[in-house]
């Protein structure tokens, strides 16, 4: 009985990390149908911002989080203005090629600027270790991660449901053409949402360092997991991403605990089964 709680907790924490990394992509993919495979490059940027601020300038960990959010958001605005906007009408495959090219460039740039070595980040001591509750040990850092993720989810959902901007985002995701027809400036909504989503990815990248590490190939390695969450959750659905990330995080952890030989199989198997049952994603619209 006890291991189940540990698996659920760890799995949920891992899922929250995946959620933070993926939520931006699901909204922009769902809204503008723009295939941005360079999404994890923004995450990687956020991670490197944290590493640099902490190791070179001695910033405390939590202070670097808003900085990585802003850095990733700013970078995304730059890319959107300079490159992405020219490709909105092009085929999915062309968008794929462009953004893969950006991933290649970002990986090489990261290797050049920071070297190929693992980036060590030494978190403050109060984030280390675990709390023992009823015979179970719960890692402090994971609890903090879950807390941050839930707070952000709450903020996102509240923003979507309660603000005017959120209503415009929802309209643009549901039916872009009609939204435009209603006078909503879809281009601007997209640009802002894209910045927000990329910023969240950057934040996710910073939070990920302590759990999965950061090196120059991060932009490649996590792309697959993010795509899995986005496709299983359903494009454009934050709730879908949340549910998918939780489900995948827990099944990944459960698979590794109960069936270590096949641990890595499980996440793909679960994904295939879920997609066959619901091809548009759990909460997908199309």
């Amino acid at each position: 009985m006890w291991p189940v709680i540990g698996v659920l907790f760890d799995g949920f924490a891992y899922g929250m990390l995946l959620f933070l990394l993926s939520v931006g992509l699901t909204v922009t993919l769902g809204m503008m149908n723009f295939v941005n495979l360079a999404h994890c490059s923004f995450a990687m940027l956020g991670g490197y911002v944290t590493v640099t601020l902490m190791n070179r300038f001695g910033w405390p960990f939590f202070a670097t989080l808003p900085a990585s959010f802003l850095a990733a958001a700013a970078a995304s605005v730059l890319f959107e203005r300079v490159l992405y906007r020219h490709l909105y009408q092009r085929s999915d495959l062309d968008q794929c090629l462009l953004t893969i090219g950006i991933v290649f460039v970002s990986v090489a740039a990261a290797a050049y600027l920071f070297g190929t070595v693992q980036q060590p980040v030494h978190l403050p001591d109060y984030l280390h270790g675990a709390l023992a509750v009823g015979g179970q040990s719960f890692a402090v850092y994971r609890m903090v991660l879950i807390g941050i993720a839930l707070l952000l989810t709450g903020a996102l959902v509240a923003g979507l449901e309660l603000t005017r901007f959120g209503a415009m985002v929802r309209a643009a995701v549901d039916n872009q053409r009609v939204a435009r027809g209603l006078g909503i400036n879809v281009g601007r909504v997209f640009a802002l949402t894209f910045a927000l989503g990329s910023g969240l990815a950057g934040l996710g990248g910073s939070l990920a360092i302590d759990i999965v590490g950061l090196d120059h190939a991060f932009a490649f390695n996590y792309l697959i997991y993010v795509l899995i969450v986005v496709s299983v959750g359903g494009l454009g659905s934050i709730g879908g991403s949340f549910a998918a990330a939780t489900l995948l995080g827990i099944s990944d952890m459960a698979g590794k605990y109960y069936f270590p030989q096949f641990g890595a199989f499980l996440i793909y198997l679960v994904m295939i089964v879920l997609l066959m049952w619901r091809p548009a994603g759990i909460f997908g619209k199309r």
């Binding site: 698996v7 070297g115 190929t116 693992q118 280390h128 040990s137 302590d210 759990i211 270590p260 890595a264």
Partner: protein, 391 residues
């Protein structure tokens, strides 16, 4: 008939190539995984090569040394083989060197055998590699050499029941087998063995499983990179007390960046290695100082393998007076002994593999810094797998 034509062309090319050599350059083709997952290993190896040349000059036995670097991008035996072929046929390379990864070394070994070219493996650690070509020597180590020694040592140190966890791919499986062999032959009992997937971002589940078995010690084998730090964290999070449950592993488990990330959680981890930058010898201190001055980081076992590889090449060339044909160079290498930053080492004349000291180290805090402190060693270790193959 076609074969005769090709044969004639080959001989002509080799003769022409030989004449080009006599003009006074020795070309070394370096095949490494400069990009991709294993890029950092290649970086350290390339650094060591550059340092050796800086310290010893680029002329040996009157010939100038020239490098041609090729990137395989990771595990890609077809590409490694192509590079080996191109280096020999197109660039007239005399020596093949580098090889961080086993599949690449094995593929290039075929070419070395066919073209009769001297090949120096500077890292890849699977036993059978040196059997692929009679012109190949290795200057790094082998996985069984390290892990079997650790297994025997574990029993000698009083451990009787160990739980093992390794990455589910070639080197991990080799390590598991080697450790089990060493430990069980000495009399110990393996109470459980699990293999986890190679691309494994999270170790919590596995560490928990291990903890549930209540072992005296846990043996962990994982590749370097992100994983060691993740393991360390998982150990702490799951409440594994290193004083009660010993953690054993190979060098990568406690490498420098892992120690930096794990922090004090890592104190007490016992690892086996053939090289650490804290090794206490005058030569090593000089090496580390020069390495730091040049590259602003400490050398590791990748660096040591490549540095000694270059030494072997230079020493062999000295011995042959600059002759570069495969047979001459490999004959010169057999039995070559020298003092390396890691300690004394030798190239086994029978297997052309390395004979070296194997060190057992523990993570301790020295002067406020976390380091691997060598506290035991086994001298003149040969590769056990090949030794058994002979019998």
């Amino acid at each position: 008939m076609h074969r005769l034509m090709i044969g004639a062309a080959a001989i002509a090319a080799l003769l022409l190539g030989a004449r080009a050599e006599a003009a006074g350059t020795v070309k070394i083709g370096v095949i490494l995984s400069y990009t991709g997952q294993f890029a950092d290993a290649a970086t350290q190896m390339d650094n060591a090569i550059k340092l050796y040349v800086k310290q010893h000059g680029d002329t040996v036995a009157g010939k100038k040394i020239e490098f041609i670097r090729k990137d395989t991008g990771g595990i890609a035996p077809d590409i490694a083989k192509r590079f080996a072929q191109e280096l020999i046929v197109r660039d007239h390379a005399d020596i093949l060197a580098g090889f961080a990864l086993t599949p690449n070394a094995l593929a290039a070994g075929d070419v070395s055998a066919e073209a009769k070219k001297f090949m120096v493996v500077m890292n890849a650690a699977t036993s059978i590699i040196t059997t692929k070509s009679p012109y190949m020597a290795r200057t790094s180590t082998t996985t069984p050499m390290l892990n079997e020694t650790l297994g025997i040592w574990a029993y000698k140190s009083g451990l009787r029941k160990i739980y093992t966890m390794v990455s589910d791919y070639g080197p991990g499986q080799d390590a598991e087998q080697a450790f089990h062999t060493g430990f069980k032959n000495a009399g110990g009992e393996i109470i459980g063995a699990v293999r986890f997937p190679v691309a494994n971002p999270d170790f919590s589940a596995f560490i928990q499983r291990a903890k549930d078995m209540n072992p005296e010690a846990i043996y962990i084998w994982i590749p370097g990179g992100a994983q060691p730090a993740a393991v360390g964290k998982a150990l702490a999070e799951r409440g594994i007390d290193l004083k009660k449950t010993k953690i054993l592993g190979q060098d990568a488990l406690a490498d420098e960046s892992a120690l930096k990330s794990m922090g004090d959680l890592s104190i007490g981890i016992i690892t086996v290695s053939n090289y650490d930058y804290t090794h206490d010898s005058a030569m090593n201190r000089e090496f580390v100082k020069a390495y730091n001055a040049e590259f602003h980081r400490n050398p590791d076992f990748f660096s040591a393998g490549a540095y000694d590889g270059m030494h072997l090449i230079y020493a062999a060339l000295q011995k042959t007076g600059g002759k570069t044909d495969g047979q001459a160079l490999i004959d010169a290498s057999k039995g070559m002994k020298w003092e390396s930053p890691r300690g004394p080492m030798m190239i086994d004349p029978e297997t052309r593999d390395v004979i070296e000291n194997v060190y057992i180290r523990r993570v301790e805090k020295v002067g406020g810094k976390l380091q691997n402190v060598e506290f035991d060693k086994v001298e003149n270790v040969k590769d056990p797998v090949k030794a058994r193959m002979k019998k």
